[in-house]
């Protein structure tokens, strides 16, 4: 249903009312923002030299934030690659003809989707060292993100494989291909291409989740900002606190918005492409985008 079914185009009087309402509302919001800025100014947060520290290489802040961003991106990149590979394997396992493969794989997928991501990360960080696996915050974060996202991606891939037209599979069997060949040469390539937009969208979710590194003291953006603040507090009091937090938050938002736009662009291209046309719904459901461990069951 397109939304303009819900109302008529406004006439002259309604338009005037709307214009007045818009002006009043805009003034209200402007007043709120102004008040916030005034408070900030009164606390001296808007002084130019407080913000200049963010761009001053001599203070070491840009380098540190850059490194934080790099750490964030590297966790997300490693996690994404691993999760994609294992996710594809799990999806194939879930669709296996043998119950002894299908069953355990299903249990693994459901288990890792059901546990909060933070608990998974803490499990890797706290428990695995006691059984002799050397752990760092980076490894725990990557492992937690991989375990969770591979389960999510497995479900996505499975839906993708099942959405490939039945004729493809039948034709491949008719040509005398073996099960493995049908899967690896015919079904998976088409499924992955169809699911590309969803994969990119999942990357946004993963990047968002990498901020959990803050809680396990991995030096990603937020933790970097926090430790910079603690460092500066030592010599300057909380002079630069607000600026550093704003910088870290903004970097996160900008990177994520860029990635989201990329996901939209990929989706548009996929839809235009004749080979993958008619895919239908390929957007991530709202709950999957929340990250942090979504959806135990309740399949639509």
């Amino acid at each position: 249903m397109s939304t303009n079914v819900l109302f008529d185009l406004p006439g002259p009087r309604a338009r005037r009312r709307q214009r007045i309402g818009t002006v009043v509302g805009a003034l209200l919001i402007a007043a709120l923002i102004g008040l916030a800025l005034y408070r900030l100014g009164a606390n001296g947060q808007l002084e130019a030299d407080r913000w200049a520290v963010l761009f001053d290489p001599a203070s070491g802040v840009p380098q540190a934030l850059g490194e934080g961003l790099l750490n964030t991106l590297s966790v997300a990149a490693v996690g994404m690659v691993l999760a994609t590979v294992f996710g594809a394997l799990l999806a194939v396992g879930r669709l296996s003809d043998h119950a002894w493969v299908r069953g355990p794989v299903g249990v693994v997928i459901e288990l890792f989707r059901a546990v909060p991501l933070l608990i998974l990360i803490l499990f890797c960080l706290l428990f695995l060292p006691t059984v002799g696996v050397p752990m760092t915050a980076f490894r725990a974060l990557v492992l937690g993100l991989t375990l969770y996202n591979m389960a999510v991606l497995a479900e996505i891939f499975r839906a993708g494989i099942l959405s490939v037209d039945r004729g493809q599979r039948e034709a491949a069997f008719a040509l005398g291909m073996r099960k493995t060949q049908v899967m690896t040469l015919v079904l998976l390539p088409q499924a992955v291409r169809r699911m590309l937009p969803v994969l990119v969208a999942q990357l946004v979710v993963l990047l968002k989740d990498s901020s959990l590194g803050f809680i396990v003291s991995y030096l990603e953006l937020l933790r970097t900002a926090r430790s910079l603040v603690e460092f500066f507090n030592f010599s300057f009091g909380n002079r630069y606190t607000f600026q550093l937090y704003v910088a870290a938050g903004l970097i996160y938002i900008v990177v994520n918005v860029l990635l989201s736009q990329l996901a939209k662009y990929v989706e548009k291209r996929t839809r235009r492409n004749r080979k993958t046309a008619g895919t239908g719904q390929v957007e991530l459901p709202a709950d999957a985008q929340m990250g942090g461990g979504s959806g135990v069951a309740a399949t639509p």
Partner: protein, 216 residues
């Protein structure tokens, strides 16, 4: 088992904190998200823009960053929440509302346009047709996605542990330090706490879905 009975009080209060955190923020997010969804389909362009902006910003912000700003950022404009718990509720509600809005909007789009056309032909205003015709049907179709949002919210409450709320995850961290020899039991107890919330929810969602689904 010895360990469980020793820490029953801590675990129970932590479980209650997690549960109330999830329920209170779930209700707030549902209300805020419904208002946002109404704004996104409203005839007034600035309201649509505002809601779209809100959703885009919060969808692309990690929940940890939202927590971070409410816990450490707004002090700078002389605001403060009365307690850590309320800070966590605010962060979770603000974040989740964006996803509730998205789920609801897809539900509104799934209502056949004949319904809204008929409502308008009967002379209902935008508010009336949204409240009495479109939203009731939309809510019925979005039970599964909304339920999944709720389950995700229940699990996302674990992030509050990083901001000094003593929920299940915080209990986990405390117990893990004290009982290094029984780590597995600690993890099992805490995960069970989350499952006690999520599994019945998943079951309930399926029941409600079957009850209210509209067969078209």
């Amino acid at each position: 088992m010895q360990f469980l009975s020793d820490n029953a009080d801590l675990l129970w209060s932590a479980f209650l904190t997690t549960l109330s955190l999830a329920v209170v923020s779930g209700v707030c997010a549902l209300v805020l998200g419904t208002v946002l969804a109404g704004m996104r389909v409203s005839p007034i362009a600035p309201l649509r823009g505002l809601a779209t902006f809100y959703v885009e910003v919060f969808r692309n912000t990690p929940l940890t960053v939202v927590f971070f700003f409410l816990a450490f950022g707004i002090v700078q404009i002389d605001l403060q929440f009365p307690s850590r718990f309320i800070t966590a509720v605010a962060a979770l509600s603000l974040y989740t509302a964006a996803f509730v809005c998205e789920a609801l909007r897809s539900g509104i789009n799934a209502v056949p346009s004949g319904q809204a056309e008929a409502a308008r032909a009967l002379g209902l205003t935008f508010g009336q047709s949204l409240r009495q015709i479109v939203l009731p049907q939309a809510f019925r179709t979005v039970v599964p996605p909304l339920g999944n949002v709720w389950i995700a919210l229940a699990k996302n409450t674990s992030i509050a542990a990083g901001f000094a709320v003593t929920d299940l995850t915080a209990a986990l961290q405390r117990l893990a330090n004290a009982n290094a020899d029984q780590l597995l039991a600690v993890f099992a107890a805490v995960v069970a706490g989350y499952l006690v919330i999520t599994l019945p929810s998943a079951w309930l969602i399926r029941v409600v879905e079957n009850r209210v689904a509209i067969v078209r």
